[in-house]
């Protein structure tokens, strides 16, 4: 297991991130509302306007936590810098999309740039080991072609699937917190100090931010928030060789993303989509779209099973599903250690 001193320092990093996002988010809410950066909350009766660009306070907290991590773990400062640069690119792409609204394909293509800091650090500096994912029962996987084919998507993929599941109040930070708690355990099991530190950076910032985004949200994450957090999870996977563990913890996101992409036949910005997978009734109740041609999504599947529901019940379902995925991720890490 990891030394108790390392765990304590990682906890300090998480606390600094949490305090920063908790303190900065109310300021951001006021500033964003004053600038008119607001979006209607379509799942509420009356569709109240809510400030968007939650990525701004989140990224601020991630930056402060990254500085703290670099100071408390000087031997990991180069890796923390690579991680922060990845977050910066994702945040920049998301912020541009929040303000100017990019086309779905453009946003996805730009998000591919997020792999640049990691690839550079691997090839030019040898900081990161690529192409050796740890898997249960097998040790290291020999993905000779597939890994390199999928590498450009290693960060952009998680960034976009986390973004696609950022559909209701609190879902993105709530599910990410559950995922990151599991990743803290898996990092400890796999004796990955950098895994624990990078997890602490993300986890702290999200814990301090969650109270403002939970139902009823006082701020929306925007693409600046969801792309940044998703990119952080992808970078954590590649940089700590926990590709399969992170893939497992993101299975609900990946299944949803795959269903949406397959039924939309490509990347589309949600504003470009005609038929919706779910419908919002006048009283705020959610029902699945019963049209056979409507796009597939996990929310539609949940609502089809339950015959409708409300935002709170769907959010609760997602948290239960993410808890299951988190348990599977811990089992994956345990099997990797045993194997």
């Amino acid at each position: 297991m990891i030394d108790a001193g390392v765990v304590a320092r990682a906890a300090v990093v998480a606390c600094i991130g949490a305090l920063t996002s908790w303190a900065v988010t109310p300021i951001a809410i006021t500033a964003l509302r004053r600038r008119g950066l607001v979006r209607p909350d379509v799942h509420k009766p009356g569709k109240p306007l809510v400030p968007t660009c939650g990525g701004v306070p989140l990224f601020t907290a991630l930056t402060v936590a990254s500085v703290a991590a670099a100071l408390l773990f000087p031997d990991l400062s180069a890796k923390v810098l690579v991680f922060w640069l990845t977050l910066l690119i994702a945040f920049a792409v998301g912020l541009v999309d929040d303000i100017y609204v990019l086309k779905g394909e453009v946003k996805t293509l730009l998000s591919l740039l997020t792999i640049a800091p990691i690839a550079t650090s691997a090839y030019a500096l040898g900081l990161v080991v690529l192409g050796r994912p740890r898997v249960p029962l097998l040790g290291t996987l020999r993905l000779t072609i597939l890994y390199w084919l999928l590498l450009p998507l290693a960060v952009a993929g998680p960034a976009n699937v986390v973004n696609m599941l950022d559909i209701m109040n609190g879902v993105m930070p709530g599910m990410s917190i559950i995922a990151l708690v599991a990743l803290a355990f898996t990092s400890a099991l796999l004796k990955s100090v950098e895994g624990l530190v990078l997890t602490a950076i993300l986890l702290g910032a999200l814990v301090g931010y969650y109270p403002y985004n939970k139902l009823p949200a006082r701020i929306f994450n925007g693409d600046s928030g969801s792309l940044t957090v998703g990119a952080g999870l992808g970078a954590l996977a590649v940089m700590t060789r926990q590709e399969l563990v992170v893939m497992t913890v993101l299975l609900p996101h990946l299944v949803n993303g795959f269903l949406v992409l397959a039924s939309f036949k490509g990347f589309k910005e949600h504003r470009e989509v005609g038929e919706r997978p779910i419908r919002v009734l006048g009283d705020g109740r959610l029902v699945p779209n019963y049209s056979p041609s409507a796009p597939l999504s996990l929310t539609r599947l949940i609502l089809l099973m339950e015959g409708g529901g409300n935002e709170a019940s769907v959010v609760r379902s997602y948290f239960i599903i993410e808890c299951v995925a988190a348990c599977l991720a811990v089992i994956t890490a345990l099997l990797t250690v045993i194997g």
Binding site: R142, L259, V287, E306, A325
Partner: protein, 76 residues
Amino acid sequence: MRGAFLVSSLIVSIWLSLLAVLLFVERVIMLIPHSATRSIVGLSTYFIWLAAWYLLIKKVFKFLLSKASSPEGGRG
């Protein structure tokens, strides 16, 4: 809760099948001596796994849609 249970069951099944596919590719397909054949068969296996899950989930949707009726009166 039924929705969460169904999706959770799907997630667990996908995870188990993913581990099975990874083991199969690593333990069986990686033994093929010819490199190009190994790559084609390996990639095809992953693709078939993905396509099978997509078709299965689509079937689940079709089944649920055939059972359900809109609370607003009528389907479609």
